[in-house]
């Protein structure tokens, strides 16, 4: 199988994730979409690792996973706190940056 198909898949996943981040309001879904984008990147890393025949890409993808894990922890905590204080998980309601 042609290795470039993995890259097409990665690009497709990234795009779906990005569109999701932009169009969805629910913070959880936005969050999941962010994860999707991260995983798309991971897939690309691994693909390139395979393509180049060294392990650099795989190492990078491990880093990404660690970062993603941390992000999930903090992000979910924030979402929960916001949900507690405003009874809503919509990102549009948290537009305090405007002021």
């Amino acid at each position: 199988m042609d290795i470039s198909n993995y890259l097409y898949l990665s690009a497709a996943l990234f795009t779906i994730g990005a569109v999701g981040v932009v169009v969805r309001r629910n913070a959880i879904v936005v969050f999941m979409c962010v994860e999707l984008m991260l995983n798309a990147a991971n897939l690309a890393f691994v693909t390139f690792s395979r393509l180049n025949g060294n392990l650099d890409g795989q190492v990078a993808s491990f880093f990404t996973m660690v970062v993603a894990a941390c992000e999930v922890v903090i992000g979910l905590a924030i979402i929960v706190t916001i949900f507690r204080s405003r009874r809503s998980a919509s990102v549009d309601d948290a537009s305090l940056l405007k002021r």
């Binding site: 990005a18 981040v21 932009v22 936005v30 549009d92 948290a94 537009s95 940056l97 405007k98 002021r99």
Partner: protein, 629 residues
């Protein structure tokens, strides 16, 4: 006392006395007027002493100088505070301190009901000091200090009762008109410095023969402008009538005898400039001739006794200015007329003050009439002054005014006829309006209402009037017997150097002609004012209306200077706020508009930030891709 060192006392004494009176406040109310009068009398004594000292010296040694200190010294511009007492300035010193002292004495009584009398005397002393500095300074810049000093004193005294807005305005007007003249004097000093590198009289005199005619003409014109401002000459004469707002002794001292004649002093002092520039001389005689007729015409229509006298002052100074434009001999006659005028006009003003004193400050002559009975002394002293101004022999004016008329007629050619004609016509009109004053005030039926109780003034008031009346009778004869004054002034004004034009008319003919015209004027007035309505008639000829309105000089000034000036000011204020500051504010507000627009992008929605981010990355990637392609 050394004659040389005493000169500064003339200025210092009244200056300190004035400062003491002003600074000590109400504490000196009781004795302030006495101190001021004593100081003024002391300066007169010093003046007399100086005169006799000077008289005893040979004519070449007569001028004295006293260098006080180095005043301004920057580069080539060196001016010392230095005083010069010569034959010309001693005349003025005696006039100023003499008449000044009489007027101080008069004012003690005249101002006795005013609870600010002390302040009045402080101003009078300040005036004496400034006026003496004016005539004693040895350079144009020293003169300038006195020049503005008398302007200040005049401002303060005209506005002495400045709680009345009209009086305060009159004071302001006088100061501003004087300042226009001061521009002339300032520029004259600058021209003198640029041309001669010095501003002393002696230095300019030494340099004048070598200077270019254009520079001398410019210098002369600027000096004439200065003189016109101070001496109420055309076109800057309009302030003098309003200046009558001041207390009457002020009008007598400042606006008749001394300050307003400073212009004549200035031109006489600068004789070397005018002698070297015929153009400047022509300007001088023109201004003099216009003003002497101008003043005389205005005088015929004034019902306010002080304004009538003020118009007469303007006209008489016109005579003097005209005389100063007639070359070396003219200066001496101008000074002669200045001195005699100082006596008779001050006397008449004090007479007018005496009448006002007796008539509850009424100034409208139409409400006088038949006052000779109630105030015999005032009537007599006033009449003596009247005869003097008319030029009836042997009163003072005969000696001085006839000389001017004669010199004008003999100026040669068409110029002589024009100037002589103007002076003769002026003499006739003078006779008319002065007779009018006498007739309206002292003769005829009484026109005052029952509330007024005219009475003769106390001795402190009539004594100065009497002394001045004696001066009006005798001064002319004394000063011109054996050409006393002409010879006395000869070293200063070069009067002996008299180029003889062909005499147009013999002196006797001139005198008879003048007297005849005066008689016509007198008779016309007597005939016209047999009966006088209490209220001024409103249906009058166009000429009377014009004369009542000061020949529209005020209207002209308002239309040409004041209103455009006000418009310009308003316009500039608007421009400053809207255009200049507006530009600045415009920069500020356009910045804030831009930032408001930019702020809209920051809408707080995470999703839109994400979108922008994605688009940004896309754009970046695309760019890189395109570039590397």
């Amino acid at each position: 006392m050394n004659a040389n060192n005493a000169i500064v006392l003339l200025i210092a004494l009244p200056l300190f006395s004035s400062a003491i009176l002003l600074l000590s406040g109400r504490k000196s109310d009781k004795w302030g007027h006495l101190l001021a009068t004593a100081v003024s009398a002391t300066t007169f004594v010093i003046g007399v002493y100086e005169f006799f000292q000077m008289h005893s010296r040979p004519s070449t040694d007569r001028p004295l100088t006293q260098k006080l200190f180095e005043w301004i010294s920057v580069g080539g511009f060196q001016v010392d505070a230095s005083l010069l007492l010569d034959q010309l300035s001693i005349c003025f010193v005696l006039l100023i301190t003499g008449v000044g002292t009489l007027i101080h004495i008069y004012s003690i009584e005249y101002m006795s009901h005013d609870h600010n009398r002390r302040r009045f005397f402080a101003y009078l002393n300040l005036f004496i000091a400034a006026m003496l500095l004016l005539v004693l300074g040895d350079s144009y810049l020293n003169l300038y200090v006195g020049w503005e000093g008398v302007g200040l004193a005049s401002y303060l005294l005209i506005g002495f009762w400045n709680q009345k807005p009209a009086y305060a305005t009159a004071a302001k007007k006088a100061f501003v008109a004087n300042r226009v003249g001061d521009v002339g004097l300032s520029l004259a000093i600058m021209i003198a410095f640029t041309q001669f590198g010095t501003v002393t009289f002696a230095g300019v005199k030494a340099g004048a023969p070598h200077a270019s005619p254009a520079a001398l003409t410019a210098l002369g014109a600027m000096l004439l402008l200065a003189a016109a401002g101070k001496s109420a000459q055309f076109p800057l004469q309009s302030w003098l009538g309003d200046a009558m707002a001041g207390p009457t002794p002020v009008s007598a001292l400042i606006h008749a005898a001394t300050m307003v004649t400073a212009g004549v002093y200035l031109i006489t002092r600068s004789n070397f400039v005018f002698d070297a520039s015929p153009t400047a001389q022509a300007m001088v005689v023109t201004v003099g001739a216009i003003t002497l007729l101008f003043g005389a015409i205005i005088g015929t229509a004034k019902d306010d006794i002080k304004k009538a006298l003020a118009a007469s002052t303007m006209s008489q100074i016109g005579y003097m200015i005209l005389a100063t434009g007639l070359g070396p001999i003219g200066y001496a006659f101008a000074i002669l007329h200045l001195l005699t005028h100082g006596f008779f006009k001050a006397g008449m003003f004090l007479g007018a003050g005496s009448v006002m004193h007796g008539m509850d400050d009424e100034v409208n002559m139409r409400r006088y009439g038949g006052l000779a009975k109630a105030m015999p002394i005032t009537a007599v002293t006033f009449s003596l002054g009247y005869l003097a101004i008319l030029g009836v022999p042997p009163f003072a004016g005969f000696y001085s005014k006839d000389k001017i008329i004669e010199t004008a007629l003999n100026a040669g050619g068409a110029k002589g006829i024009l100037l002589g004609g103007a002076t003769l016509l002026g003499a006739a009109i003078t006779a008319f309006y002065m007779t009018r004053v006498i007739v309206l005030t002292f003769t005829g039926a009484k026109r005052w209402d029952s509330k007024a109780h005219p009475h003769e003034s106390p001795i402190l008031m009539w004594l100065p009037m009497a002394i001045l009346a004696i001066g009006s009778v005798a001064s002319g004869f004394l000063l011109s017997s054996g050409s006393a004054l002409v010879n006395w002034l000869q070293p200063i004004v070069n009067a002996g150097h008299h180029e003889h034009n062909e005499e147009l008319l013999k002196p006797a003919v001139v005198s008879s002609l003048a007297l005849g015209l005066v008689l016509v004027g007198v008779l016309t007035a007597v005939f016209k004012y047999r009966t006088v309505p209490v209220d001024a008639p409103t249906k009058v000829s166009i000429f009377t209306t014009a004369a009542r309105k000061d020949l529209y000089q005020d209207s002209f000034n308002e239309a040409v200077l004041m209103h455009p000036g006000q418009k310009l000011t308003t316009g500039l204020v608007y421009t400053d706020e809207q255009v200049i500051d507006g530009t600045v504010r415009g920069v500020g507000s356009s910045l804030s508009i831009i930032s408001t627009a930019m702020r809209k992008i920051q809408n707080g929605y995470v999703r839109s930030y994400a979108l922008v981010m994605v688009l940004g990355v896309l754009a970046l990637v695309t760019t890189i891709w395109l570039v590397t392609l």
